[in-house]
């Protein structure tokens, strides 16, 4: 989500950048350890900076990320090691025509000279891997490739740094051996043990966040590894949440475009082979036969259909409703099978929706007279990325003073009206758009609004008026005589 975050805050923070402008003298990295957890659609990268303060009361630390990495980072969090509270991160601008960007981290407590603080940067990268070979036949295995830069850049001197790349399976097809790194290490520049490939340790790096250093020393490394799970991509998710006070119901409906981002199918799909594979329980890694989703507890009337009608191949194990704010781990499990197994490069679209008691996700604040409703941004499909997400929250008719709180900023927010069954004026709608969402983004949006009691009565009054009008018309119409000639008896 960083791109959007950046777009929004860019102007505000250009000035701030000068304030934070980190002098390369304030810190020294005694160690940098970067761990890359390879996956399918998502790659988790955790970088730990052990920073030693060189100046008294150093309180701003700068992290540098290369441009392509920042492009594919969709979620980012900085913490002090061992603490829960994330730190404030501000975009620190990029040096002139630099290929990297600075992030300024505000430390909670100023660091004394010579004491060390461990800063943990956690990011999730999306669309960072790609299938290689790009096409695979039905029985073939699935391998992915991941590229990254060898050195972690820093505006400070670094004593030692290393990068660990963890592959999900020990079958690593190939990995790059860096060249010309004798300046930093005397041992082997890369070692592999099991599923882990370690680059480094590299010692005594100077200030690396400069253009000339990058051009001279930085290089790309690639890992080609076997991946045993399907690579899922939700190309588009449109969520509509409709709040009904009369029905005490929160209806959530997702229109989802599913895409298998694994290697494209080479040749054609053979049902015979697919049936043989599933009969002998050796399903190919890049075939998605089914999805298992965790839906909220207490839901009912779940529906799953696509453009040609109901899809009968699904199972739901619904959990009973849990009280609000309770730390219960209960959820309903939806086993969802597309109409056909999804092979590499295939699409499937479907609509999934359910009703849930409004009381499970809404409450009334008597002091302000406002209702507060929480709507999750998305349903987490494990290990998948949502390319585009649109969340539409439809409030009850006549809702006023609408405010919302987002867990992270949206690309765009729109307000409109929506007219549904027997509405007279329509309902206020807020639409949020997001891009590249991951597991970490499945958080609720909070919306608060007031509904005057007259608005509650609008619908019955409208219907009653219409019927009354009809009856009055009928009463008069019956009594009007339009015959031209009176019938003679």
């Amino acid at each position: 989500m960083l791109q959007c975050w950046r777009a929004l805050t860019l102007f505000l923070l250009v000035s701030a950048a000068s304030v934070f402008a980190a002098s390369s003298l304030s810190f020294e990295n005694s160690a940098i350890v970067r761990t890359v957890d390879l996956g399918g659609s998502l790659v988790h990268v955790t970088t730990t900076f052990a920073a030693k303060a060189l100046e008294p009361k150093a309180s701003a630390y700068t992290i540098t990320l290369p441009e392509d990495e920042i492009q594919r980072t969709s979620w980012l969090e900085v913490k002090i090691k061992g603490q829960q509270q994330p730190l404030t991160v501000k975009y620190g601008g990029a040096p002139a025509d630099g290929k990297f960007y600075n992030l300024d981290v505000q430390l909670p407590n100023p660091v004394e000279v010579d004491s060390t603080v461990n800063i943990v940067l956690e990011t999730i990268q999306t669309h960072a891997t790609y299938p290689w070979p790009e096409r695979a036949a039905q029985q073939d295995e699935q391998s992915l490739k991941y590229n990254t830069t060898l050195f972690v850049l820093s505006p400070y001197k670094t004593n030692v740094q290393r990068t660990k790349v963890k592959s999900p399976s020990p079958e690593v097809r190939s990995y790059t051996t860096p060249k010309d790194v004798d300046a930093f290490t005397l041992e082997s520049p890369v070692t592999k043990s099991g599923a882990t490939i370690t680059y480094g340790p590299y010692n005594n790096l100077p200030v690396s966040a400069t253009n000339e250093w990058v051009t001279k020393n930085q290089q790309l490394i690639g890992i080609h590894y076997k991946y045993d799970y399907p690579v899922l991509e939700l190309t588009q998710v449109k969520r509509v949440a409709e709040i009904s006070h009369w029905g005490a119901n929160l209806n959530i409906q997702d229109d989802i475009v599913l895409y298998n981002a694994g290697p494209e199918l080479k040749g054609h799909f053979s049902r015979l082979e697919h049936q043989t594979q599933s009969f002998y329980k050796r399903a190919a890694a890049h075939v998605i036969p089914a999805l298992s989703l965790h839906l909220p507890a207490g839901i009912h009337d779940v529906y799953y259909y696509d453009l040609v009608g109901n899809v009968s191949t699904s199972r739901l194990r619904a959990a009973p409703s849990v009280p609000k704010n309770s730390r219960s781990n209960q959820y309903s499990v939806m086993e969802l099978r597309p109409r056909y197994p999804l092979l590499g490069g295939w699409n499937y679209t479907f609509t999934l929706g359910w009703d849930s008691p409004l009381a499970d996700s809404a409450s009334y604040d008597a002091s302000t007279g406002k209702y507060i409703v929480q709507v999750p941004i998305m349903t987490d499909v494990p290990g998948s990325v949502v390319n585009e997400c649109e969340v539409k929250i439809i409030l009850p008719e006549g809702a006023t003073d609408v405010e919302h709180v987002l867990p992270f900023p949206a690309v765009s927010t729109e307000e409109s009206t929506h007219i549904t069954y027997l509405d007279t004026l329509g309902r206020p709608v807020i639409t949020f758009k997001y891009k590249n969402l991951t597991t970490k983004h499945a958080k609720p949006i909070y919306v608060s609004y007031k509904v005057p009691s007259s608005a509650h009565l609008r619908k019955p009054v409208a219907v009653a008026t219409a019927l009354l009008g009809l009856f009055v018309f009928g009463m008069f119409a019956r009594r009007v005589d339009l015959t031209l000639h009176k019938k003679t008896a």
Binding site: G267, H268, F269, S270, R271, L272, Q275, D306, L307, V308, G309, N310, V311, S312, T313, R339, Y340, G345, W346, N347, Y348, T349, I419, T420, Y421, L422, D423, T424, A466, K487
Partner: protein
């Protein structure tokens, strides 16, 4: 006068009238509810889905109308049908059905009721069946009385013969056409009875609606003139007939010509000439009547008669001459097949290949009508008793519709309403007789009145009428009072004594009715409520298992092939592919103008060998070929079972290349196992159906469960097509047509090369095999 059971005496006539009218309204409401509810089996058992084949096109067209408006629909050119010709949809459909749904859709949306267009389409037929029940009530009321009307409404509401074409999801023209048919007839009868130009015009308006909705409008176009002609021949010409017919014909014909698909047919084709002729005849007769009323000369009257006959003869010859000169189109093939059931099979195999165009089997009469089938003649005979003008109509209708229903299964639908009407007349006469509380008086009087015996069965109902003057319509009133005044003056001599005899008959009648209800429910639930897009079977634990192969494959096509990929399949699936897969098709269920050669091309491609079929496929830009194969599951409606029709239709155009006998074994059997003929084994259809089928059985004998034949261990191979998709139960198999080899080899040798040298030995053999075809 003694009564069989005590009657309340302290009721005022207004109380009786009001109660009766309330009961009627409640009964009609319940009948409508039953009519709608019994059609919902399909929705409850499956889902709200469009059924079968043609409804998919209607649904697709309706969606265009609902989303883009009427004018867009009117001008809609569908480039995906009949690739590469396309189809001018606005000019080649009966738009009544789509327009109806569109109006309902817009009406509901105007009131902020955003009902999905699919649900409107699915529920249109049940909704209109309630209206049909009401129209039948009105119609039968004109024949006899309200109680017969209610019975008729109840019959038509649940009779399987009508339900078969109007279950929820069966979104076809017939869904609204039967209502329009009955209501037009009602307006016609009403106009005829009262001589009202208003009702004549109403009949014309509903006739126009009917023309816009269903090709079967020709039935009305000919029924009403035949009725008018018969009345004239019976010497029943009256100014009422003149007003009714002229207002109906003039307005009805002019308005029907506004439907683009009909256009000038009402004045240019033979099917419509009868109506025009009767119209002319009416003018002549009316003029003759006028002349006679002014000049009461016997000779002049004779002269007029002669001139009438002469004009009739001149008119007929003029019609024949015009036909020969080409001004009037001769009868179409479909029309001939109504008179000669073997005609279609000989000359138009495409019509004969449709199962609903087959002659009706006897059991289906009972299946569709049950007890009504033997009440029906009784009702027709009862019509002869009074033989008023409207009874003549029912009699003609019965005769004509019975014949047509015997010729074609689908025309069962037009027979059903008249069966319901006349059965209701018969049944309500029976009930009237046995519910009538009056006991006959002494025996000596009964003998004196025995000459009047034929009338007695009809009179009790009239008598009841007299007790409660409930008849609301003025037209009925005077007839009833006329009838009752004479019958009430006489005392009854024949009738039923006691309560027990009455009870026996009434209980029996009620028993019959309840069996009818059970039968209808059973038939509806089991025979007529399958969407045929979705199949149902039962799991070992008794739960329902849905076999959804069609939608699986169509959806795969929709999601994973290019938008403009052309799909070839047998024409049955054209509408479904267009509707669900949204892909261009070579042929579809609209068997119009040059369909013959187009469909024959597909038939030829399917029935010839790969080498012959491949150029045809490439010439028509075919990307995918879709076949339906039921051998794994035992689904008998598959393409191998329809294959002979493809062969026949292809043979009709290319008799030198395709010959039907080649597809049978020398013994004349239709086989698909290793005894199958070589033409069969090499045909594209056979190869696509059984490609890799035997491998599924892992070395065991592969069994085709439809044909109950054991398949050879080594299945057919394909060189020019690739298997692209096969659905879960192998019902739908989709093949991709290969592009030409890049090196210019023919695909067969390219394939053999790709598979390695070892194939080389077998290659010449397979080549030699291919040559005899």
């Amino acid at each position: 006068m003694s009564t069989a059971y005590p009657l309340p005496t302290n009721l005022s006539t207004t109380t009786v009238t009001n109660t009766a009218s309330l009961l009627r309204i409640v009964a009609l409401g319940l009948i409508s509810a039953a009519a709608i509810a019994s059609r919902l089996f399909a929705v409850i058992n499956f889902e709200s889905i469009i059924h079968e084949f043609d409804p998919w096109f209607n649904y697709r067209a309706t969606r265009v109308l609902a989303s883009q408006g009427f004018y867009e629909f009117w001008n809609w050119f569908d480039p995906t049908a009949w690739y590469p010709l396309g189809r001018v949809v606005g000019g080649t459909v009966y738009p009544g059905l789509m327009a109806t749904s569109g109006v309902i859709y817009n009406f509901l949306h105007a009131f902020h009721l955003p009902v999905d267009i699919r649900n409107i389409c699915v529920l249109l037929a049940p909704g209109f069946s309630a209206l049909t029940a009401w129209a039948t009530y009105m119609f039968t009321k004109e024949m006899k009385d309200e109680s017969a009307g209610l019975l008729a409404a109840a019959f038509i509401g649940i009779v399987p013969g009508y339900i078969s074409r109007s279950v929820a999801g069966s979104y076809d023209n017939e869904a609204i056409a039967i209502f329009l048919l009955m209501f037009t007839f009602y307006c016609w009868i009403k106009a005829l009875k009262t001589g009202s130009a208003l009702f004549g015009t109403l009949a014309a308006v509903f006739y126009f609606y009917m023309v816009a909705a269903w090709g079967g409008y020709a039935f009305i176009t000919n029924m009403i003139p035949v009725h008018a002609l018969t009345l004239m021949l019976m010497g029943r010409f009256s100014s009422r007939l003149y007003v009714a017919y002229c207002s109906w014909y003039a307005i009805g014909t002019l308005s029907s010509m506004q439907v683009p698909f009909v256009g000038f047919q009402p004045v240019r084709t033979s099917e419509h000439m009868g109506a025009l002729g009767v119209f002319g005849l009416l003018q002549i007769v009316a003029f003759a009547q006028l002349a006679r009323s002014h000049l009461s000369s016997k000779q002049f009257q004779n002269l007029l008669t002669v001139s009438v006959v002469a004009m009739g003869v001149v008119g007929t010859f003029g019609f024949i001459a015009l036909t020969y000169m080409g001004w009037i189109a001769p009868w179409t093939g479909r029309f001939y097949s109504l008179w000669d059931t073997g005609y279609a099979k000989k000359y138009i195999p495409i019509i004969a290949s449709v199962s609903e165009h087959q002659p009706t089997a006897w059991p289906s009469f009972f299946m569709d009508l049950q007890l009504l089938i033997f009440l029906f003649p009784a009702g027709v005979i009862l019509c002869f008793r009074e033989l008023r003008d409207e009874h003549v109509f029912v009699i003609i209708y019965s005769v004509v519709a019975s014949y047509f229903a015997g010729v074609m299964v689908r025309l069962m639908l037009t027979l059903t309403p008249v069966v319901c009407v006349s059965s209701a007349v018969a049944f309500s006469s029976l009930i009237d007789t046995y519910l009538d509380p009056t006991q006959p008086e002494g025996e000596e009087e009964s003998e004196a009145d025995s000459s009047n015996g034929t009338n007695t069965a009809a009179t009790p109902s009239k008598k009841e009428k007299a007790k409660k003057p409930a008849a609301s319509t003025s037209a009925l009133n005077d007839i009833v009072t006329a009838a009752t005044s004479q019958s009430s003056s006489k005392s009854k001599s024949k009738g039923i004594w006691g309560l027990d005899t009455r009870l026996i008959v009434i209980v029996n009648a009620i028993g019959m009715l309840s069996f009818f209800v059970f039968h209808c429910t059973w038939v509806t639930a089991n025979a007529y409520s399958s969407p045929s897009v979705v199949l149902a079977s039962t799991n070992p634990d008794g739960s329902q298992h849905i076999i959804d192969d069609f939608r699986e494959a169509y959806y795969w096509l929709r999601q994973n092939t290019p938008q403009d990929a052309v799909v070839m399949s047998w024409w049955d699936y054209g509408y479904q592919i267009a509707g669900m897969a949204d892909r261009p098709t070579l042929v579809d269920n609209n068997t119009w103008n040059n369909s013959k050669s187009h469909i024959a091309t597909v038939g030829k491609a399917m029935s010839s060998s790969e080498e012959v079929a491949y150029p045809i496929l490439r010439k028509h830009d075919v990307d995918y070929v879709l076949v339906i194969f039921g051998g794994l599951l035992g689904y008998s409606g598959d393409d191998i079972n329809k294959f002979l029709w493809m062969v026949r239709i292809a043979q009709g155009v290319w008799p030198d290349e395709i010959q039907e006998p080649n597809y049978f074994t020398p013994q004349g059997e239709y086989r698909v196992d290793d005894r199958a003929s070589s033409a069969m084994k090499n045909s594209l259809m056979y190869k696509m159906s059984y490609y890799r089928f035997a491998e599924l059985f892992g070395g065991n004998n592969a069994m085709d469960r439809v044909r109950q034949q054991t398949m050879p261990k080594v299945g057919p191979t394909l060189d020019y097509l690739d298997e692209a998709f096969t659905s879960e139960n192998w019902i739908v198999r989709i093949y991709q047509v290969r592009k030409e080899d890049l090196l210019g080899r023919d695909l067969k040798s390219a394939n053999a090369f790709a598979q390695g040298k070892k194939k080389k030995k077998s290659k010449p053999v397979s080549r030699r095999k291919a040559i005899p075809v």
